[in-house]
């Protein structure tokens, strides 16, 4: 029963897709092409990501994560999160499970919001493309503003989420 519930969303999407296949076959074919491309990407990256996570879970101690990324890590913690996020490491969905295990190990919410945000918005290879097509002033200004707002969102979320949110939601 629970497994049926878990696959509810994929099933709904399957129905939408079937509907599209009759209603607008060319779009459906294009969609399936996109799905196939992303599936290949996920199938290649995800096993490696989960294994890395497993290794981190087993080898990196809670104290270390807490020291580097915990709530007392201050500006250094934010700098580390920004640095880790901007590394060329692949699509955002890869970062979610990593963030979850870092949170479990004691990283602060503020730092993890900065980490996720810079992963999505401030990746170095992505910035290169941005500079090429939209110019350096655009890219530089967006980088600074985005980083600034990520810290604010992080602090705000740290304030808004209850203290035991991580324990309840993620550790289950």
């Amino acid at each position: 029963m629970t497994s049926v519930k878990k696959f509810k969303m994929p099933m709904i999407i399957g129905f939408v897709f079937l509907f599209l296949l009759f209603y607008d076959p060319s779009t459906a074919i294009k969609s399936s092409g996109v799905m196939w491309d992303y599936f290949k990407e996920m199938a290649i990256i995800m096993p490696a990501v989960f294994l890395m996570m497993g290794l981190m879970e087993v080898w990196v101690s809670k104290d270390k994560i807490q020291m580097w990324l915990g709530s007392g890590s201050g500006i250094r913690g934010i700098a580390i999160s920004l640095f880790l996020g901007t590394l060329p490491t692949g699509p955002l969905y890869v970062a979610f499970p990593m963030t979850a295990s870092l949170l479990k190990k004691g990283a602060s919410i503020t730092n993890m919001v900065v980490f996720l945000g810079s992963w999505a918005a401030l990746k170095i290879p992505q910035l290169m493309v941005e500079i090429k097509f939209l110019g350096l002033p655009f890219a530089a200004l967006r980088f600074i503003l985005t980083f600034f707002f990520l810290i604010i969102i992080g602090l705000l979320m740290d304030f808004l989420l209850e203290e035991n949110y991580i324990k309840e939601k993620i550790n289950e």
């Binding site: 878990k6 696959f7 969303m9 994929p10 999407i13 399957g14 897709f17 599209l20 779009t27 459906a28 294009k30 969609s31 399936s32 092409g33 996109v34 799905m35 992303y38 599936f39 996920m42 290649i44 990256i45 995800m46 490696a48 989960f50 294994l51 890395m52 996570m53 497993g54 879970e57 087993v58 080898w59 060329p88 490491t89 692949g90 955002l92 979610f96 499970p97 963030t99 979850a100 945000g117 999505a120 918005a121 992505q126 493309v129 941005e130 097509f133 939209l134 655009f138 200004l141 967006r142 503003l145 985005t146 707002f149 969102i153 705000l156 979320m157 989420l161 949110y165 939601k169 993620i170």
Partner: protein, 159 residues
Amino acid sequence: MRIIIMIYSLLMICLVISIIKSKEKSKRAFKVAGKALIKTAPSLLTVLGIVGLTLGILTPETISKLVGSEAGYLATIMAAVLGAITLIPSLVAFPLAGSLLRSGATIMTISAFITTLVMVGIVTAPMEIETLGKKFTLLRNSLGFLAALIIAGIMGVIL
């Protein structure tokens, strides 16, 4: 491709070190990885399906038609919403934004599109909810959307 090679070589190095240091712990790492993979599989599938459908329907051509060359706040809001619901690789998104800019869209509209594109992920939300919880996901994405609008406004004024 280069990224994949990088990830896997890093993984290999870590794995070898781990196995040399302790077989027991390495086994446990595999177990943790397997369990996490099974747990996130349904939401991964969901993300895959939504990405396929949105990218199939909202192609770069459709987006440029919708955002168009019109100025005005309506175009900016439209761009922000489109950026929030789509998940376009940056190699496609930035050239698209560049061509929109040349065809007459304002800086504010372009930055709204780019910032929501990277800061808000409606498509990846099912997976974010599964791994980080509903409240975290909702807060991060809605605050991100607000921030994106403010950023777009500031950029429109400065540039």
